[in-house]
């Protein structure tokens, strides 16, 4: 499947190429082995894959995490909630609550955070930084 697509795009690229370099008397029917290596790169760059990283803005990530914390029933003092807030010191969450928050973040961004990294997330800022570093976060 992929090979036929590759060959087809290579063929198209060859057909398109002589139009812009008309004066050069290059033989159109080059061997496929040669042509397969060069033109597809230019061709495939134009295509944006569905799996490509859409890119999350820092503000958006921060806003979503803040909303999530606002709805978290154990966060009573929402005035202290800001981008720098520490889960334990500022929001009064214990380590078990932190686990719950991290689980909620995992769900919100549809990723899975390994235990070791999850253990290192203690504040809103750390969570935001971690999410921004993940290419597959949504």
């Amino acid at each position: 499947m992929f090979r036929t697509a590759l060959l087809r795009s290579a063929r198209q690229a060859i057909c398109a190429a002589p139009r812009c370099q008309a004066p050069i008397a290059r033989p159109v029917a080059r061997s496929f082995l040669q042509s397969k290596q060069t033109p597809p790169a230019a061709c495939f760059q134009a295509v944006r894959c569905y799996s490509a990283h859409a890119g999350l803005a820092k503000q958006e990530v921060e806003g979503r995490i803040m909303d999530l914390l606002k709805n978290f029933d154990k966060v009573t003092d929402t005035t202290k909630l800001n981008g720098e807030a520490h889960f334990h010191n500022d929001l009064g969450l214990d380590s078990l609550d932190t686990v719950e928050v991290v689980m909620a973040i995992e769900e919100e961004f549809s990723i899975e955070i390994p235990d070791k990294e999850a253990d290192a997330i203690h504040s809103v800022k750390q969570a935001v930084d971690y999410i921004l570093a993940q290419p597959d976060a949504h």
Binding site: D94, S95, L96, D97, E100, M103, D115, D119
Partner: protein
């Protein structure tokens, strides 16, 4: 929970997470389950003895199996009821 033994701490957090995932479909609701679970874990936070922590983890594993069994039983009863009615 257990600062001197990080490996045990990870185990505790792991079982806590697993229990939380299981609690999503708890008959009395997730909120009910979550508060109870949190209380149960928080009441054991002063455990410092490694053997006691291990015993606590064993207990958590046991509870996990109990919850699984509860779900199976619930499913069984529902199906049974439906088949009996028809």
């Amino acid at each position: 929970m257990s600062p001197p033994t990080p490996a045990l701490r990870h185990q505790v957090i792991k079982i806590y997470k697993e229990l939380l995932y299981l609690g999503r479909d708890y008959p009395q609701g997730y909120e009910f389950f979550k508060t109870r679970l949190h209380k149960a874990f928080a009441s054991q936070k002063d455990l410092a003895d490694e053997a006691k922590i291990r015993a606590g983890i064993k207990r958590a594993e046991f509870v996990k199996k109990e919850i699984e069994a509860l779900y199976y039983l619930k499913r069984y009863r529902t199906l049974r009821q439906r088949y009996d009615k028809a």
